[in-house]
Symmetry: D2
Subunit: 349 residues, 4 copies
């Protein structure tokens, strides 16, 4: 068993980490860190538990520590980080001196030699860890996962990009409120309403996706060279991001061929049979009105994305469209970091 710690343990993504790591065969939670105001309290006493399943008994009595490396138990090997990005810039580096940091924060995602990874998409980016350690003189290292809406999109695109020549992609999102954190979206903003703006979200989707689908030459990442434009919107849904995707290829296409490539897509986590890896990263829905966030967000414990309404675009040559749903705080956040850690555990540790 590998001992793990969680930074930002009382927050929404922190709670998902706890949920996903309960009964994990390889990882055991031995340290929970939070803000200095909560440090010293029992986890149960300090935490307003947001999830609709019960807080695991195993964490209730853990005493929260402050978010710095010296507060960790010596025996922790991996820390999962869901701290706010503005804090993550500094703190994650401090942890990386000694620990493996599997981070959901955006602070280091696009930094040189810090792998931004989806295990089914670009596991080879882990190769940059060696350079990272050398450059910084660290014993540990940082690995990051993408933004929630990016992960779902990129997973759906991987079999497309691998098999066809993509010219351009437009994506319009309908994102769940949990993506903004518990206090992120006031109910006054979203009941009988939607908000057609999410700060920095379009920029993250447009850059991270191309970065993930690019290639790493041992020194640098060369982003994928198709064009990607996003429009991001918040809707009154608790969990589960929905995305309408318009894809234009360079050439004519056969929609059954595309469906086949998506339906049969498997990545390294499936080959390695990693604990959190879904059997099918992409589930094809055939009903005319699916996927839907409330119905499909929990597919394969929230680790699969669901793709539906896959159809040839009748109006635009060489084009097709689809709709996807992915669980934003599982596959899109905590589950992404956990799967990264499982891959690291299998390949590196």
């Amino acid at each position: 068993m590998i001992n793990v710690g969680i930074l930002g343990a009382t927050g929404m993504v922190g709670q998902r980490f706890i949920q996903l790591l309960e009964n994990h065969p390889d990882f055991e939670i031995t340290a929970l860190a939070a803000s200095f105001k909560s440090a010293g309290k029992r986890y149960e006493d300090a935490t307003n538990w947001y999830l609709d399943n019960e807080m695991p008994e195993s964490v209730k009595d853990i005493k929260l520590v402050e978010t710095n490396p010296s507060a960790m138990n010596n025996d922790v090997d991996i820390v999962f980080s869901s701290i706010p990005t503005e804090l993550a810039f500094k703190i994650e580096k401090e942890f990386a001196k000694d620990y493996v940091v599997a981070s959901n924060a955006s602070a280091h995602r696009m930094k040189k030699n810090i792998p931004l990874v989806i295990p089914e998409v670009n596991p080879e980016y882990l190769d940059m860890i060696e350079n990272q350690q050398k450059e910084n003189n660290w014993d540990g290292f940082i690995v990051t996962n993408p933004n929630c809406s990016t992960i779902a999109l990129t997973l759906s695109l991987k079999p497309i990009v691998d098999n066809f020549n993509v010219n351009s992609i437009r994506v319009s999102t309908m994102q769940a409120v949990s993506g903004a954190g518990y206090n992120g979206v006031p109910s006054m903003a979203i009941v009988d309403n939607l908000v057609p703006y999410i700060g920095n979200e379009e920029e993250k989707m447009e850059t991270e996706t191309l970065h993930l689908l690019g290639n790493y030459d041992g020194k640098n990442v060369h982003p994928a060279d198709f064009k990607l434009s996003a429009s991001c919107h918040r809707v009154p849904v608790i969990d589960g991001h929905t995305e309408a995707v318009f894809v234009e290829l360079d050439d004519d296409l056969n929609i059954e061929d595309i469906e086949d490539k998506m339906a049969n897509f498997k990545g390294l986590p499936q080959k390695l049979n990693l604990f959190s890896a879904p059997k099918n990263p992409i589930i094809i829905k055939k009903e005319e009105d699916r996927p839907q966030p409330r119905m499909d967000r929990n597919a394969e414990n929230g680790m699969s994305i669901s793709v539906g309404r896959l159809r040839k675009d009748q109006a635009i040559d060489n084009s097709f469209k689809y709709v996807l749903v992915g669980h934003n705080t599982i596959r899109g956040a905590a589950g992404a970091s956990v799967l990264n850690a499982e891959l690291i555990n299998d390949k590196i540790l």
Copy 2:
């Protein structure tokens, strides 16, 4: 004063007709038609009033008649139709023998010689009425307005199409539940959820928009020749459709120029100062998170559309993006028919 009748008077769009025609300077409601089950009852007794303002006193005592021409008062000149499309095919033709039919139904929208009109966009299509009357040997005629999501999109595109060369458009909608009728969307389908499918909606948007933005040569309509692809979704909003629009032009663009053309767009209804015409068909919102349906659907009594987040597409050449909100049962339905009737009253009757 012109006496008008309403077909489908007890339904959601029928109620909007009543709301909009209360205190109308030119039209007076003298006949309300509904299904044979309601015929003979007082309007107030037969109607489950859905709107959040009160039922006008003036209609409460009107006795509902059956939906056929002989049941109309002789002195009715215009009938507004919001009957279900499958009934509209036959019934609207019967009415057209003697009456002007301003229809919100889709039955006759794309039929030869039946004008599909947005007064700000293609008022010249009314010229086909003469042919319609000749061909059918009718004293009256049918004029139709487009689908709710089409109207908002097309209004926003008119100043673009008039001033720039459009190559292609992708639009992703987030549509209000009222668009499906009172019983159209069960709450089980939409609370903490969205439905990424609306039957026939994408087809209607793709064909009607090009038809409206095309030109009529005195015999036929030549649809606009850019490419238009739609993805339509239902969200938990009562009224107000939101649409994310991706536009690709043939040439480079200046975003201020586009904003200027939209902000200053006026059409014939504004020149004629028609009663229901908004001062500005398109209102430009400058806040980063607008337009929003609950906040912007009622702009200019629900007859303006609001456009925001107008921005150059950083990822795709010659492209820009924006978000619009339009009131689907006012500008997108009853108000559209009323404005059509006002234009007809001004130009033809």
Copy 3:
């Protein structure tokens, strides 16, 4: 293993039956009945699956039969019924000639010699089965469970009624939309709104609760003699009924004493260790803002009710107040019938 059938198998409560019976240690689904339109189809083909977990593989290929006794497999012993009440009057009697009918329909709830049972509350009412069989000359029999809002209320009241003299109870409900069936509540009725009326609900709560908390003398049920008044309201929540309860006792009270009786309440299902029995039928929540439907409806697989805000009434003598949440389609419907069947299986079959 006992073979069971489900009547109304494609509906919302029918789907919950399937969910709850998957992996059941004593019951195996061998027959699924639906309307004649669906009869003959595979379950998967005929059913619009509403639940957010996947349809169990084991039922997908079962061929639906019509809802009459001759269509059942001979080897079925128990049928679970969630057919509409107006059909249940006749059909359930036909089934009772040969089968045990565990019904969630209201048709026979208050009928002489037909036990209306919550296993934790009044298991002794099963004694009336003998009379039921004799009178009707049936080999099978009917047992019913109460209305969804009644079950949660009555469970919470059982330890009160057993230990204190109740004078009167007022209850105000905030009920989930799933209680009305999939198409029961249009989204137009409930987005940014609530509906302060549910047909017959108040009457059911007021009569069923007193019936359940009464006593059976071997011939008749003598209802409990306190006064009970209900006001029922529908709110925009998918699953989970919330009820605000005002209790007036005959005598002064100690609130810790009441909490203690509720927290430690166990019934026969707990003693018998029935498969679906929750460890604690009543869970006491101590947070000031709980229970909440989304957070607490799934407590103990949806079979426990959660009680919170238990407080002495400062304004009214001998009174206290509390709020409860119970899962309306699990503990309040399918789970209630299943627990009834488990009790019958243990005590009678």
Copy 4:
């Protein structure tokens, strides 16, 4: 014209003040105050306008001032206060030295000699102003209106209390999110959920209602002597509080008699024909499923409450039940203060 100022002008209730005072025949807004961070800015620039009608042109250019008396224009006579209660304790007293303060804050509601008033209910409490001014040596004075849920309840009870002997009342509320301020209720707390707790709300309802329905003997208020118990809950509704009310009288009752008293209730504002006074403070709804917040909150510009489901309690002697809806930020907040000011303007200034 009387010049008025608004304290807390950029907040939700502040915006309602502006909406209600636009086009007011007697009051003209000449000063808007906000926090020191906003002071100096144009109102339009400092304000995130939350209402679904447009910000009035007349206030856009007003320069915000700090919230202290010296910052007011000399010529302001009345200040409307919607500042947070913790600030109101001190600040409103400072203003009262020179100005009439019509406050929606709770700080001074239950203080000796400070009238807590609903003009239809207890206008005679204004008599205590004289004592207030003497005691404090103030030229101005403070008058307050009750909590939002209290106002609606008390209005509905006034004709009951005036005509019948009330023994006890239980009220269970379903309150809109706007009552908590724009950021008060996170969407994570309320989508597919409700929160059965509102801090201090039950205490306010229980004390303020009895205070308002009591009598003032020239020195002290003697609260009404019936018993009142409240249970308060937050539901996913934007505006409009719904309350289920259980009333027990001392004697038998005739429900038509009660309806008649409520339907015909008029107070002093109706007699004086005050500008904001609704024609009928209580509107009786006869439909079985009304009142509903989205449909009825705007009755008479949001200044009437709607009462429905008025029915004799079949279970409890001498009792009846009803449901009411009132607009919480109009009748329950800004409109209440404005009506108070209109009454003061008519009777005192």
